[in-house]
Every structure is written in structure tokens, then in C-alpha cells.
């Protein structure tokens, strides 16, 4: 295994002043004999939004699932706030401040919107604070407030995605993991969902965004990693990647 310093210098950590909240080193994920993620190394600094982009099957979601401990890593290390989290059971991560917004609108369809939000605070017991956070989420997503008692399954796809984000925020995370928030949504809803994500990020939430829609992801994030067949092939500031001719050709359809 490479020493941390080497890994970080490769990610030009020197350029940023803030400390990394999440350091992933040599992470590997395998399904049976097939390696989906082949030893990738990256980090997310406190307060920044980092995007992980790439084509279908590049290993982005597998990476995120391994971070959220929904999948077992085949190797490597994941250090969050200075602690190794590779061996932890998934339910403990929420208590540590990592919240995942699962791929494909993972809401509880037969619970009301209000109940969905309260499930996000499942690990908390501070009732007054939870109520305040519910108000905060409703402030962020006014459309949900109007329909607080409606069943989540009756919302449109975009609204469900927003609810899933709101529910993740209810655990008061320090690190938000977003898995393909644009997936299967109408373009207008994608815009709205990304506005919400940007608002949350601007308020200082550390976010790792996994996204197939490279253009949008690069527009909202500060740095990005490009994944190809299980490996990180390119990394830079998002603005530079947006201008990079190679990226433009491969991912932005130009």
C-alpha cells in the first residue's frame, strides 16, 4: 500500500488549505471475479463538493456503495475524519456523519413525506432539534412542505429525489454521498434537483457527487475525478476539466 502522503500529493492536496474529510486509498471492489473498481485513490476536503464522473459501468456507483458500506471493499482503505471505516457496519456510518442518498429515488413509498424525513433522523433522539431540521428541510424544499402528509410514492420522480436528499440531511451529516441524482429524471427536474444540491453545498456541506451527467456535475462541483473501467484516469479542478478538450470529446459530446 502506498503511503498516504504520496497518495495525497498525487491529488495535489498541497493546492488546498482545508483538511481532507475523506481519504480513499487503493479502494478495490469486486463482484465475484470481476473487478469493478481497481484500486482508486482520491479524497474529499471539508466543505467542498467533489464529483466522480464517468460513463456507465465505470465503477462510480460501486465506489459509492463501498464507501457507504453497502458493498464490501475487496481491498484498500477508506479513512473518514481520520478513522478507518472499511470494517464498520453500514448503520454505524450514519451516526458518524455520513449520509447516502441512494441511487434511483430511495424513498419509502408508503410513508408520508413527513414520516420519510423523520426516518432520516432515526439515529437521533433530540426531538426539538429534529423538529428544527424538519423546518430547515421544508424551507429548502417548499414543494414538500405543501404535501407533508402525502405518500412519498405519489410524488414525481424529481420530488422523490429531493425528498431523498432532504431525508439524508435529517441525519445532520458531515459528508453527503449523492448517487446519480439526475438518473431517470426529466431535464427540468434535473435542473431543480441540482439547484437544491448546490444550495446545500453552498451552505458548507461536504459532498461527494457521483454522476453520469458530466456537464452538470462539473458545473456544480469544485473538483472532479474521471473514472474509466474501474480506474481514475483524470483529475483536476472542475472548471479546467470542463475546458479540457479530451473531457469535452469523451463526456460532453463535443
Amino acid at each position: 500500500m502506498k503511503p498516504i502522503s504520496a497518495a495525497l500529493s498525487r491529488d495535489h492536496l498541497a493546492m488546498t488549505n482545508t483538511s481532507p474529510l475523506l481519504i480513499v486509498e487503493g479502494l478495490r471492489v469486486a463482484y465475484g471475479g470481476i473487478q469493478a473498481v481497481r484500486g482508486i485513490t482520491f479524497h474529499v476536503n471539508s466543505g467542498e463538493m467533489v464529483a466522480l464522473i464517468g460513463a456507465n459501468g465505470a465503477g462510480k456507483t460501486s465506489t459509492l456503495k463501498a464507501l457507504a458500506r453497502l458493498l464490501d471493499a475487496a481491498g484498500g482503505s477508506v479513512r473518514y475524519a481520520g478513522k478507518e471505516i472499511v470494517g464498520l457496519p453500514p448503520h454505524q456510518l450514519v451516526g458518524q456523519g455520513i449520509a447516502l442518498v441512494p441511487e434511483g429515488r430511495g424513498v419509502f413509498p408508503r410513508m408520508s413525506i413527513a414520516e420519510n424525513l423523520l426516518m432520516g433522523a432515526y439515529c437521533r433522539s433530540d426531538k426539538a432539534e429534529i423538529a428544527r431540521d424538519v423546518d430547515y428541510v421544508y424551507g429548502l424544499l417548499p414543494r414538500l412542505k405543501e404535501r407533508a402528509q402525502q405518500l412519498a410514492g405519489t410524488l414525481s420522480g424529481g420530488e422523490q429525489q429531493m425528498l431523498a436528499i432532504g431525508r439524508a440531511l435529517m441525519s445532520r451529516p458531515k459528508l453527503l454521498l449523492l448517487d446519480e441524482p439526475s438518473m431517470g429524471l426529466a431535464p427540468i427536474m434535473v435542473q431543480k434537483v441540482f439547484e437544491v444540491i448546490q444550495t446545500v453545498a453552498r451552505e458548507g456541506m461536504t459532498t461527494l457527487l457521483v454522476e453520469q451527467n458530466a456537464k452538470l456535475a462539473l458545473e456544480v462541483s469544485s473538483r472532479a475525478y474521471v473514472m474509466e473501467s474501474g480506474e481514475i484516469t483524470l483529475t483536476d479542478d472542475s472548471v479546467k476539466l470542463l475546458a479540457d478538450p479530451k473531457v469535452r470529446a469523451a463526456y460532453l459530446g463535443e
Binding site: 457507504a68 453497502l70 457496519p89 453500514p90 448503520h91 454505524q92 456510518l93 450514519v94 451516526g95 449520509a99 447516502l100 442518498v101 441512494p102 430511495g106 424513498v107 419509502f108 413509498p109 408508503r110 410513508m111 414520516e115 423523520l118 426516518m119 432520516g120 432515526y122 439515529c123 404535501r147 402528509q149 402525502q150 405518500l151 410514492g153 405519489t154 431523498a164 431525508r167 439524508a168 441525519s171
Partner: protein, 359 residues
């Protein structure tokens, strides 16, 4: 149904309704006993046992959404536990207050034994494994008479001690402040008391953190994990809780019946209990109770009524009442599922969902 919901908001009406229901349940065995005879009293006692079973299965199927086709195995575990520890078979005669809780715990342990290997399974796959589990338990009961005779095989265990509480046996009429309570009545009150306890526990569980976690797992397991729910433990807890209710019912069954054999724990029984849950209204406690009552009483009514009605109409029995009973039962299931897919008395959420209403 709306009446029931309005009671939640009106305290006085709720107390009145509870009082009325209490008196009704208290005098029920005397009215049924004098008007319809002892066979119907026995059916009433069985209805209470089935309510306990249905409420137990409701935790697994209704709350946690884990399809279990072998639930009757836990009933069998409770029943055999009682039979082995309170019968001449081993010459053991342990007191009821030890055996019933012990049977509940053992059944709960069996629930975990079933749950642990099936944690990753859902839907059809889980149904097949649980079906196999139910059959394994039954076949064990059938064959554990050699080399050491534990269960007495297909002959079953007879001469089981009747339930005996504080020196008072429920097998004989009990003199109580000048009133004579016949045996079947006494069993009724005991079963009613335990059924009410199970109803109470179910209601408390539904409103608890654990209950919400079960529903979350039923709705979306990955999202449940993402909310920080320990899905493994919570699922095992559902299996254990559901199974322990079955174990209590099983112990009561053994003491009541005085005889257990593997025949009583066939796949058909599991299916019947599942039908009670689904037909009544999955996940809704009053619905499940209704399902338990209807599916115990109606087939019996058919069994007792089909013959005489045919005799009166046609002067002879055209169709065997037993065959007719299954036919009517199947038809009733199809009709209910077509016209009330969420069950006869669904929870308000499910009713909304099936009607496709918003708020």
C-alpha cells in the same frame, strides 16, 4: 372503519366503545355456549388461538414485509415444548408459567435460526426457504421417534396436562364467587387475556422505533440502511417476535387439546394463517384480528351448515360439505382479492395507496 378512526379523537366515545366491547367479550362464551353448544365454544377458543397466530405472522409479513410460508413451525415448537414437558411421555409435569414463556422463547430462538440464513433473501426466494423450514420442522416431529423416541412420531403425544394455574385446573368446571365457569369458558378467558396481551404488544410495537424500522425495511431496504437502521438485527427481531407469539399460541393449543401430532402443523395451516393476515388487511392490527375470526368461523359455519341446508333444499346431500367448504373458501379468497386487494380492513395508508389517492 371511519367509525373506528373517529373513536381515536373522541375520548368519551372510545371509553364507551371499549366498555361495550369488554362486556360483549365477557358474556360471549355464555351466550354462545347456551345458544349454540359446546362445539361452537371450542371453535371460539380456536378463533382466539388463530388471532394470536395471525398477529404473530403479521409482524413478519405485515410490518417487516418478509413473506413467511412456514410460520406454523413456531406454533409446532410451542406445542411440542409444552407436550414434552407436561405429559406422561417423559413423565415430566412442569408448571404452565414455566412452559408457556419457555415455549415462547424457544420459538423465538427458532425464529432467529430461520431468520439468520435468510437475511439476504426477499419475496419469492424467502417464501421458498421458509416453506422448506416449516416442512423440516414438521418432518422432524414425524421422525424423531427413533433411535431415541423424542416426539413419538406420527402417533403424536397424548395425555398432555391441561393448563393448570395456581392449583386450579382448567380441565374441570371452576367455582368462582358462586358462579360455575365450565372448562371451555375458562380456556376462553385465558386465551382472551393472552390474545389481548398480544394485541397490546403489537400496537405498542407498531408505534415504536422498532415498528418504524420494520416498515422502513419493508418499503426499501437500502434506504433503511442509509437511514442508519441495523437491518440485520431488526429483521431478526421481527422473526423472533413473530415466532414467540406463535410459540405462546402453540403451548396453549397443546394444553387445551391434550394431544399434539405432526398432522396439526401442515403447510395448509401456514397458508391459512397467511390468508388471515392478507385477507384481513396486512399490517393493520384490527384487520388481522378480523381475518383471524372470519377464517376460523366461516369454514366451520360451512362445515356445520352446508349439510342441513342441502337437505332442506333438495332433500338429499348433493355435494359433500367438505368439498364445498374448500370451493367456497377459494372463491371467497378470489373475490376479496379482486374487490378489496388491500384486505377487508386495510390500514389507512394501504387503502389510500390502493385507491391511488394523494392525500
Amino acid at each position: 372503519m371511519t367509525l373506528f378512526e373517529s373513536l381515536r379523537h373522541n375520548r368519551r366515545a372510545a371509553i364507551g366503545a371499549m366498555l361495550f366491547l369488554g362486556i360483549l367479550l365477557a358474556v360471549l362464551p355464555f351466550t354462545v355456549g347456551s345458544m349454540m353448544g359446546n362445539s361452537w365454544l371450542r371453535i371460539l377458543d380456536f378463533a382466539l388461538l388463530y388471532i394470536m397466530l395471525a398477529l404473530g405472522l403479521n409482524i413478519v409479513v405485515g410490518f417487516a414485509g418478509l413473506l413467511d410460508l412456514g410460520y406454523i413451525a413456531f406454533y409446532a415448537v410451542g406445542a411440542y415444548f409444552y407436550a414434552l414437558l407436561a405429559s406422561p411421555h417423559f413423565g415430566l409435569h412442569l408448571p404452565v408459567w414455566l412452559i408457556i414463556p419457555g415455549g415462547a422463547m424457544l420459538a423465538g430462538l427458532f425464529g432467529i435460526i430461520l431468520g439468520a440464513p435468510t437475511l439476504r433473501l426477499r419475496g419469492d426466494y424467502l417464501a421458498i426457504v421458509t416453506l422448506g423450514f416449516g416442512e423440516i420442522v414438521r418432518i422432524f416431529m414425524n421422525n424423531l421417534n427413533a433411535p431415541i423416541n423424542i416426539t413419538n412420531g406420527p402417533q403424536g403425544i397424548s395425555g398432555i396436562d391441561p393448563i393448570n394455574m395456581g392449583g386450579v385446573t382448567l380441565a374441570k368446571p371452576i367455582e368462582f364467587v358462586g358462579i360455575t365457569i365450565p372448562s371451555l369458558h375458562a380456556y376462553y378467558y385465558l386465551f382472551l387475556g393472552l390474545a389481548l396481551l398480544i394485541v397490546f404488544v403489537s400496537i405498542r410495537l407498531e408505534d415504536s422505533r422498532i415498528g418504524r424500522a420494520w416498515v422502513a425495511i419493508r418499503e426499501d431496504e437500502i434506504a433503511a440502511k442509509a437511514c442508519g437502521i441495523n437491518t440485520r438485527n431488526i429483521k431478526l427481531l421481527a422473526f423472533a417476535m413473530g415466532a414467540s407469539f406463535g410459540g405462546v399460541a402453540g403451548g396453549l393449543f397443546a394444553g387445551f387439546q391434550g394431544f399434539v401430532s405432526p398432522e396439526s402443523f401442515s403447510l395448509m395451516e401456514s397458508v391459512m394463517v397467511l390468508c388471515m393476515v392478507v385477507l384481513g388487511g396486512m399490517g393493520n392490527i384490527p384487520g388481522v384480528i378480523l381475518g383471524g375470526i372470519l377464517l376460523t368461523l366461516l369454514p366451520e359455519a360451512f362445515r356445520h351448515g352446508a349439510g342441513p341446508v342441502q337437505m332442506a333444499l333438495f332433500g338429499k346431500i348433493l355435494l359433500d360439505p367438505e368439498a364445498l367448504r374448500m370451493l367456497a373458501f377459494g372463491l371467497a379468497l378470489i373475490v376479496v382479492m379482486l374487490y378489496r386487494p388491500a384486505g377487508l380492513w386495510p390500514s389507512s395508508t394501504r387503502r389510500r395507496e390502493f385507491k391511488g389517492e394523494g392525500a
